[in-house]
Homo-oligomer: 336 residues x 3
């Protein structure tokens, strides 16, 4: 039985795309759709998680990701605690589980966890009480599922159906938790063709089981693509030997208007941010008409509101207590 679901098959934790059904992914996208208009309201909040306590538990600093979760939680009217674990109890020698048990005893309802070790979000989810939900905000090289879902949301908004799409993911597949989650989500949603375009040194060993077409040449790899997803070059995760230089990387795999010619004329360009301009792509592309990078950021709030509210209301029916507003336009009723 999946750790992520409760006994009725509803979302309890959101740890990875792996282990979730196609229906559940679509439900997340639909729920996010219902939240996407909240920022256009004059009071851009919904009272869905009022009085709930959400703890941002960041073992790895990331102001950017933390900010998106904090905003999503506040727009759901939750109380948010930011805990930077590096500067906190571990200093006094407390173990991870003791820290968790303590926060649980304070009746925290949800932990948004970012950790440098793969599998840490699952580890934590296996040890929390039944009333606590875990959201994975990135664990080592393993997964970053809210990033993947905001990407799916962005693709669906532009392309409607996944079945006929050709999607290319470009860059450091080996070290990227984002890529892993994206490939899972694209396949689960029935994407026509998923390609990765990457140097041989940045392709993981088990790539045959990933369900992707592998390209090493950018030009041939881009041919006929509808969606182009650039990965961030994670300097901090690479040993120098794997790449010659940033300039060389840009020459081979950096996106330019010229190289984009091979893609379909209405192809969209995505990037999880922050962009290394002149490395993964030049500014002409980043700020150009095909770029949907800033839309991804907006959609990230809606997706995080969706998984947070779905995980928190699992099995309780509380969502229905909230009369009117965005959710009632969503598909919460068909969650089961």
């Amino acid at each position: 039985m999946s750790l992520q679901l409760d006994e009725k098959g509803k979302l309890r934790h959101f740890l990875s795309i792996d282990g979730l059904s196609r229906e559940l992914l679509i439900d997340i996208l639909d729920t996010a759709e219902s939240f996407a208009t909240v920022p256009e309201q004059s009071v851009k909040k919904v009272p869905l998680l009022r009085g709930k306590t959400i703890v941002n538990l960041f073992f790895e600093a990331s102001t950017r990701t933390r900010t998106t979760f904090e905003l999503a939680a506040k727009r759901l009217s939750a109380d948010v605690l930011n805990i930077n674990i590096g500067a906190s109890s571990t200093v006094k020698g407390e173990t991870l589980l003791d820290t968790l048990r303590n926060l649980q005893a304070m009746h925290a309802d949800m932990f948004v966890v970012r950790h440098q070790e793969s599998g840490s979000a699952h580890f934590i989810a296996r040890h929390v009480k039944p009333y606590v939900s875990i959201i994975n905000a990135g664990d080592g090289r393993h997964a970053h599922p809210t990033q993947a879902m905001l990407d799916m949301f962005t693709i669906r908004r532009h392309k409607k159906e996944f079945g006929k799409l050709c999607v290319a993911i470009i860059g450091d597949i080996l070290h990227s938790r984002v890529a892993r989650s994206q490939i899972n989500a694209l396949n689960m949603l029935g994407t026509g063709e998923v390609r990765v375009i990457t140097p041989k040194t940045l392709l993981p060993n088990g790539h045959h089981s990933l369900g992707v077409q592998v390209h090493h040449d950018l030009k041939t790899g881009l041919k006929g693509t509808d969606v182009i997803i650039m990965l961030r070059l994670q300097n901090e995760r690479m040993s120098g030997a794997m790449l010659p230089s940033e300039a060389e990387y840009f020459r081979l795999y950096g996106l330019t208007e010229e190289k984009l010619c091979g893609a379909k004329s209405d192809a969209i360009v995505m990037h999880p941010g922050p962009i290394n301009r002149g490395v993964e792509m030049d500014s002409q592309v980043a700020d150009g008409p095909r770029s949907v990078i800033l839309q991804q950021v907006s959609h990230g709030i809606a997706i995080r509101m969706a998984v947070m509210s779905m995980a928190m209301h699992q099995g309780t029916g509380e969502a229905k207590d909230w009369g009117g507003g965005p959710l009632s336009r969503g598909k919460r009723g068909s969650e089961a």
Copy 2:
């Protein structure tokens, strides 16, 4: 006249157990009882301190303690400002009193103060305006009264009456502000017998006036106890000469299931956290059936909500404006 009380004898500041009456301590426990069910509500908040500004003024870093006060304040619907003074105005050479006067001028209603110097909370309380309340969140070796009160709350929940209890406090009495506050509270509440079990080097000079039985041997000290309170070994407060080694300390004063045999069969084990597993106790005890350590953490929120709301509403009758909810089940009416 006590600095902690207003002219009607109600709580204004909460600085130390010393100086408070038995009735007031019981009133705090009763008020906390009324807040203990708030986390079970679907909206775990009460509007009692809505629109009030509470400033966490931490001169000594403590994410753990700060978190409990922040949560308690948010569940009372107050606005919370976290100010880490190390990184703040003192950098520019401002004196403590200037910092205080400035925050007062911004109409802060309450300061939760943590400071490395004994007496600092009292010092601050002597200098604030009549409309400001001070809560001591730990000052040097002096006091940590909310910790002591959450311990009393935990004991009362398990043992009902203090009069017939035998309570042992084990560890570094000399450097512990927690022990000092606990001993005061236990005696004020009429505890049958209070023991301390400690190495000779960690016993304060004036222990004869503390109102405790002193033991140096763990086995004899534990005999017949109803409540066992372990102290944290504060490495940061000790010079190396006072203790041989952590292993030696554990051999002599560390709690194990075997050593627990001498205590009553229904004895409870407490610890203020974070636990040094294998130093103050082994994991079998920490996670065992007698441990109430995580309950202490939960009760800490209720106690902090109690003293915050009591100190803030002193003399104003505002508490009564709030119709229904936990407080109305408390004993606020009999405060005077």
Copy 3:
């Protein structure tokens, strides 16, 4: 056309006093007047910016200034995000504009910007979307307009009319963004006489165009003044060569009761804080009957609430939706 105003001439950004009309400055003062009583309410909040997202974007650490904006925003019921940019995305090499565009994409409504470079707030304001407002919380040596306006508010509360006043600004004019903003505001409001009293080495080159009388001697400079504004000696902005020593500075330009004799008998003494006691003034003056320094701090919250709410409601008429409360006593109706 001014960057700070919308097409109807209403406040959109608040970047500098320069470029604003006398009417608008008076409107800010009147609006702040309407907020000045909010802290006296039992619930010291107004729902004016409920559901709005305000981001404190501090590129230069300043707990003090950040705190005043955070409090003002919370008392307007906004959601506040504190982002310390030093520790954030710029670490990953993201440019300032990319950071901004990302926060914009998250539907932030307002940025409160503090930056060490002159002109940065204007730069940012030129690049944000139409729905975003920028408040300058201090940019390099250039401007600190909310500080200047809280000073004007304090002067008006004590002296009513600006026309007959003699105001002296004392200290390091050269490096002070506060002085620059104060001089602009005082002149715009028609102050009778504005003097600066400063060592020759701390007078800017273009002082002839400032519209001030220059004095180098404190005694003659103070003669007949109604308002005395001390500047903070910004050690961090000065090369050692410009000043002999702190003691020498105090001897020549430090304010004492004795030196105050030359000023009018009802003159008030102001300082932006934090005070260097014994450098800019001695404690007898700082804590004496003429000092209005702590009132400045209180007024700072009201002024910040005023500019935040005015900038956010520009052109939308939303302010009028809010029935009753402090604002209705203000002059919002005559804003245009």
